[in-house]
Amino acid sequence: MVDLNGTLVLQILNFIVLVLILAKYAYKPLLQTMEERKRRIENDLTSAEQAREEAAALKAEYTAQLQEARKEAQGIIETAKEQAEAESQAQIKELRAQLVKEKEIARQEIEREREKAMQQIRAEVVNLSVQVAGKLIGKDFSSADNVALVEDTIAKLDSTTIRS
């Protein structure tokens, strides 16, 4: 049962042959595949981490840009508001000035019209007065001398009393 013989040497040789065959055709390619897979997973993980960091940086950048844009927009709105305010103030001022001017023109117009009316009334009064006086006295009172007399009388009247 425990006899040592030539089998021992053959078994050693068998083992060496098996090691050589397996090392070349089995372990080497298999371990290579495993190593390659390990490397690939490591690479994938590294690149994923890189992508994550890049994304975070981009996000931060975008947020900053957005903030900036918002601030700028606010500024623009503010400026526009101020400008509109100033413009409207100027317009109001101009309008007011225009109104004052027009009021002055109207006042002058009214004054002129009244003056004109007063003159007409005055002429009419003179005529009427001469006619009335003529009728009352019964004599021709409409000569040029009489008209001048009446006009003179009226002119002597307090002009302010008539105007008011």
Partner: protein
């Protein structure tokens, strides 16, 4: 009754005897391992499936167990240690397949186990020479010259214990299995068969593990 386990068909060739059944079984084991590993490496997919997955799992597991002891020599030694494990594993389990006295474990022959053990000793010397040069053999006379006796005994005891541990476990398992079949043909042999399957795995692992630790002692400063 006559036991079959442990009896060998001996052939004489040029005055040297050979256990032919052991050799046939060894070649069968080699063929099985080569076929299985080649199947595993055939596709070499990035996402492993089936037999490739199993093979990668085994190699990965062994790597995890053995690599730490061997440092930078691992690349050179890994193929040999993987083969120790796979060869002994398949050899141990081959004898457990029920067959009319055809299949037997090559490891139930002391020639096989001692052959493996001696090759491991030679491997240890080669690695010792590779790592430490000719100075490696100085450890036989350390701490002083008289220790050469103890050191030589240790050097011999290592392969002998490796060989007999494996041989004894497997041969005893097969003998007991045969006896149980003869005495209690039902249930009990199945239980022992299951137990032997586990023993086959454990013995293969122990052998490879011990060779690794001997190598580790040589590479490191174990002496």
């Amino acid at each position: 009754m006559e036991l079959h386990a442990g009896h060998h068909h001996v052939v004489q060739w040029m005055g040297i005897s050979f256990n032919m059944d052991t050799l046939y079984m060894t070649w069968l084991v080699m063929a099985i391992i080569i076929v299985v590993t080649l199947l595993a490496t055939r596709s070499r997919a990035m996402v492993p499936q089936g037999i490739q997955n199993v093979m990668e799992g085994v190699l990965e597991g062994l790597t995890g167990q053995f690599k730490t002891n061997l440092g930078n020599q691992w690349k050179f030694l890994s193929s040999i240690l993987f083969t120790y494990f796979l060869f002994i594993l398949v050899s141990n389990e081959l004898g457990l397949i029920p067959s009319p006295h055809i299949l037997a474990s090559p490891t139930n022959d002391i020639n096989t186990t001692l052959g493996l053990a001696i090759s491991s000793s030679i491997l240890v010397w080669i690695v010792g020479l590779k790592v430490k040069g000719i100075g490696y053999f100085k450890h036989f006379v350390q701490p002083f010259k008289l220790f050469i006796i103890i050191n030589l005994m240790e050097e011999i005891a290592k392969p002998v214990t490796l060989a007999f541990r494996l041989f004894g476990n497997i041969l005893a398992g097969e003998i007991l299995l045969e006896l149980l079949y003869a005495l209690v043909p039902y249930v009990l042999p199945i239980v022992w068969l299951a137990f032997s399957l586990a023993i086959g795995i454990i013995q293969a692992f122990i052998f490879a593990m011990l060779v690794t630790s001997y190598l580790g002692m040589t590479i490191g400063d174990g002496h």
